[in-house]
Structures are given as C-alpha cells and as structure tokens.
Amino acid sequence: MAQHLLLGDEALAQGAIDAGLSGCYAYPGTPSTEIMEYFQGSADASERGIHRQWSSNEKVAMEEALGMSYAGKRAMVCMKHVGLNVAADGFVNAAITGTNGGLIVTVADDPSMHSSQNEQDSRFYAQFAMIPCLEPSSQQEAYDMAGYAFALSEQQQLPIMMRLCTRLSHSRADVRTAASKSEQNGLRPPDAATRRFVLLPAIAKRNYDALCAKQDTLVASSEASPFNRYEDGADKSVGIIVCGIAYNYLQEAFGGKCPHPVLKLSQYPLPKKQLAQLMASCQSVMVLEDGMPFVEQMLRGPLGNDRILGRLSGELPRTGELNPRLVAKAFQLELPAVPALSPLVKIRPPRLCDGCPHINTYEALGEALKDFADAKVFGDIGCYTLGALPPYNAISSCVDMGASITMAKGAADAGVYPAIAIIGDSTFTHSGMTGLLDAVWENSPITVMILDNGTTGMTGGQDSMGTGRMAEICAGIGVSRDHIREFVPLPKNHAVNVQIIREEAAYRGLSVIIARRECVQTLRKKKR
C-alpha cells in the first residue's frame, strides 16, 4: 500500500486505473477536468495503454465510452454537471441497452456555481435513468469506489453514475492505494444473438421491462453497500441523513461525536431498510446534502412533512454548498463569532489575462458596432464570456455551449439586425457547427465570430479538436468562401480588424470571421 496526496478527481482516476480501466472519454469542464488530466499525465495509464484523449463534447464522449463497454472493456466518461445535459440522450438510453464491460459515468456537480451557470444535481439524472449512483464522501472512497463501481456495473449490466462535487473534486487528501492492479478485460463483444444494443421498439420494451424489474435488486445492493452505513446514536430527537461529503461537515460540527443516529448515504437508490429504521426510531430527520434537496424532497412528499428538516424547511439555506458552519448552525451548536467583512474589501471578479487575444477582438468589435446602433451580440461559454463585464460590456447573452450561433439565428429570424455570435474554437466544435449548418441552409443574416485561441482556455488549456481548421470546417459546412474572413487580434491590426467586422456586419447574409491568435497562457506553458 502506498500513500499519495490526491485530489478527489485524481483519486477516482487512480482507482479506475488500478481497477482495470481500458479507456476514459471526457470533455473538459470544471470541476471534472483533472480526471482526464491525471490519466494523461499518469505513467501507469501510459504503460497500460489506456485510451485518454479528449472528446469533442460530452455526448460524443458518452457514446465512445459505451462503445468500449460494448466491446467488453471497462470504460469511464467524465463531465461537469451541465455536460450531462448534452450527453443525456446517450446516457438515458445506455441504461436501456445496458452495458457489457463496466461503465462509470462520472459527473461533477458544482453547488454554489463556482464556475457554472446552474446548480443542477446529477442524482436526479441517475434516478431518471433508473441506474445506481455512487457519491463518495472522501478522496479515499472515490479511490475505493472505482473498482466497486466497475464490478457493480458488470454484475447489473448497467452504467453506474459517480457523482462528485466541487469540494471533493478539488480537495486533496492522503489516499492509500492498492498494492496490486487488476488486469484489463479482454475483447469480448456481446454475441450476435443478444440484440439488446439495438433499441428498436420491440427490443427496447423488453429491455425497459428488465430495467424496471432490476430496481429491487438495486435497492438491495444499496442496503448491502459498504459505503452506506447506519451509525446509531443515543439522542433520537433527530436522526440525520448525510449524503456524500456532507458526512465530513457533520463530523466536523460535532467533533467526531455526533449524538444522533446517522445514515451515511453514498449509494443510491435509497437503502430502504436503513431508511425505515431511521424514520421509525427518530422524531424528526434532518437531511444534509450538497446540491438540490433531492433526498429531502422525496421524504417530504408533495404535501410536505414537518418531521423532515433541511433546505426546504429552512434549517439550511435552499441554495449553495454546505460547510461545517452551516451544519453546526442547523443543530444550534455554539459557534465562534465571525467578524463582519471589512468595508475596505471590494469585489474582485475574474478578468481576461493581460495580452489575451480576446481583448483585441472585443476592442475591434466595440468600435465596429458603433455604426450599428441596433446590433445585438450573442455570447457563448469560455474566457470570452468575460467580455460581458466592464470595460467591454460587449455581449447580451450567455446561456449554454453553442447558444450564441443558434440564438443569433433565431433573433435574426425575428428581425434583429445585425445579429452577431461570439464563440470560442472549442465551443464551436462542441456545439456550434450544427447551428451553423442551419444558418447556411437559410443564408441567415448573422455574423459568427469564432475566437480561435488554439485551446480550451477557460478550463486550463486542453487541446481542442478543430483548432487551426476553423475556415476549412466552415467552408465544409457550406459558408461562402467570400464571407469567411480571418484576422489576427493584435493592437497593430486594430483598424483592419474593425473594417472587416464592419463589412461583414453590413452584409445581409451569413458570414464568419475567425479571430486567430494563441492564448497567452498556453503559449507560456509551451515555452516552459
């Protein structure tokens, strides 16, 4: 056994390597990015020939992982919570086909929205797809759960969701790793007679019935899970259900000596037996869970239930991540006084790096659009979203990856002119290309600005599949070569760049402007 200081993300990755993983597929997204980065940097993974390349988006990654599982090998797909919206079609239907080699779907939620546009809770998706969900409470559990999840997946022939949260993903702790590693599975696709991967209605119905019939077994598995634990306590005025890392906050608040009965929950569906025991023996039940009130709402039911305490009853805030202080407060424990924030402290929002190419693009855009009072600029997700803040105040929307082009098109359909879309290279190949195809079909009067900085900047500089090939891709999709323009966003090119934007904004048809200069952060990394 060896000790390592690992992030939750890294512990899970090492656990998967040690458990015989054959391939990981992922699209970057905070806080899940470090899982793939760990595989890419790992000598173990390299030695064992584990597939570890980024995918173009989460749906693609999900299906690639399912393909590896089909072939009989152990696979993992990783994404941030909103990535699962993109991957949802493949995800939900992978539960209907079932798996062959073990398949872990790792989804990292971001309660408090540190780097995200919402606080959605992936446990709802696991419940929706009717598959088991594991939620580690510590880095060690993240490590240990990888092998357990693969075994469970192969036993139940279902994908297993691994739900992480920012605080576990991005926190390091000492992790004990196993002395020996499991062999990878050999190539063994299902035999031709099993048609379960062919979701024609007749087969899908049979599969779905089988999935429904499995649910009792999944509850039994949760009841027997080494990661779910009933810890009795003398003070039964309140019992506590703690999900995932909330367990640590509870222990911290009570100094490791919680007087109440506790159900530590790290595997779903809910373990009926332990839950019934807690409900029967305690007057009320407090639910501590990071993310949305998933368990709490189930226990409350639609009519409410005064016995169930938590985010919905007001003991805890409805939104935002938990912490030891909030948990202590919910139990009215004594707390040290906390001084008020000094009025001297000002908000310090993130900003574009000095020398960032996006700065020059926004400066040119701002000047060009002075001639177009009615212009609307539809933004997208990436470093360039920071163009929404002063001094640029340059974009009027940022919704989800790819929505710049499609919203600009919809707005143009409604009569907005000029409608400009701003999208990064990675976001364009993630979800922008399909929308552009619609705009080509109708020759929509929009101008799409692709900011090609050669990388996925926002998430720390991962390779992006289409970098440097933006013009070819757009031409291939059908954008007229005459209206595919390129410029280098540098101060010395300012006047030329302004002119290019002006011309294309004035053109009443589809145009694409590619602003191409490398991210200064990746450039710096390469030079090191």
Partner: protein, 194 residues
C-alpha cells in the same frame, strides 16, 4: 498537533505552490492532510483561496469553518482582509503588503495595511521587495512561506528540504534564491512569534 490554514491571493499569484510545499512537508511528517483548492473561473485574475488542514488526527471536513483558522496567509493585502472572517481570535494573519490593483475601485492601500496591523497577531511585509533582494521577485511565495514557518510545528529543516526538492529540476541557482527568500521571510515571522 493541528494547523488550519487559509491561503488567499489573486488568480495567477500561485498560492497553490505554497500549499503544495506545506502539504508535502506534512505528508513527510506522517500527518493527515486535506487541502481544498480553487480551480476554474476565479483563476482568471479573481480572488482565490485554498484551505489547508494538517493534523496528527484524521481530518473530517475539507473546509475550515469560519472563525476556526489558525493562520490566514495571503499574498495580497486586500485578499488577506477578505479572508479575515476565517481567522480564529487567537490566530495569526500574514500578508504580503504589495497590492494587485486589477480593479477600478481598489481602496487606499494605507487603510488596508492599517486594518491588517490592527490584528493582535500579524505579519505584514513587502514580500516582493524581500524576494527581489534575495535575487528574484518571483520568489515572493517563498518569503511568505518563510514568514509562516515559525507558526507551524515542523522540525527546523523540513520546509527548507522540501523547497529544495520541489525546485530540484530547476537547478541549484533557483534553489538558492528560493531558500534565501524563505530565510528572509522566516526572520520576519520570528520577529512576531517571539
């Protein structure tokens, strides 16, 4: 033994280097470690923080409860003040006095420094100048690490050895500058600890 340390700064200043060295030293001591970091959005020049917990006993929470930190260590003065709510009444606050003025309404520096010096236990130093004197302004982090070292119960040479190992790949000159910066910071910390 238990140390709960809140590290603060501005994205890009490299507070994780400090955390990594202390964490590594703690592991070498056989201590339990939990270190919660900020990755992502805020790293683009925003306010960043990390929680570092070291203990001879197993550690429960990855986060330090507000009002519970033994140390607030900041590489930027306004960020030190932002994290002051974490500090326990008996704790020490350490700050680099050099501001990062990347916002329009940055307050009067003197007011911030005065507020920091009003804490019963404080070390407020121009770590950047001290690092420059040691040979490279970029060793500012090592000055701050030196300043906090007297407040951590580590054997005398442990942090210095860990620094040497951390920078081993960069050659003896880099190591020497970083150790010199560390020593200068340590003097400043000792002056307050005594």
């Amino acid at each position: 033994m238990k140390h709960d340390i809140v590290l603060a700064g501005v994205g890009g200043q490299g507070i994780l280097t400090i955390a990594a060295i202390i964490g590594e030293a703690a592991v070498r001591q056989g201590l339990h470690v939990k270190q919660s970091e900020v990755h992502g959005m805020a790293q683009r020049g925003g306010a960043v923080l990390a929680h570092l917990r070291l203990s001879s006993e197993p550690i429960h929470s990855d986060l330090i409860a507000a009002g519970g930190a033994d140390v607030v260590l900041a590489v930027e003065p306004m960020e030190a003040l932002r994290q002051a709510e974490s500090l326990s009444p008996r704790g020490v606050i350490l700050a680099n006095a050099r501001p990062v003025r990347n916002i329009g309404d940055y307050p009067e520096l003197d007011d911030i420094l005065a507020a920091l010096r009003a804490f019963p236990l404080n070390v407020v130093i121009d770590a950047e100048q001290m690092a420059q004197d040691a040979g490279n302004a970029r060793a500012m982090n090592m000055v701050m690490l030196g300043a906090v070292s007297p407040f951590l119960e580590f054997p005398d040479d442990l942090l210095a050895t860990t620094i040497s190992d951390t920078f081993a790949r960069k050659g003896p000159e880099v190591i020497a500058v970083n150790l010199k910066a560390f020593a200068a910071g340590r003097e400043a910390g000792l002056a307050v600890k005594r």
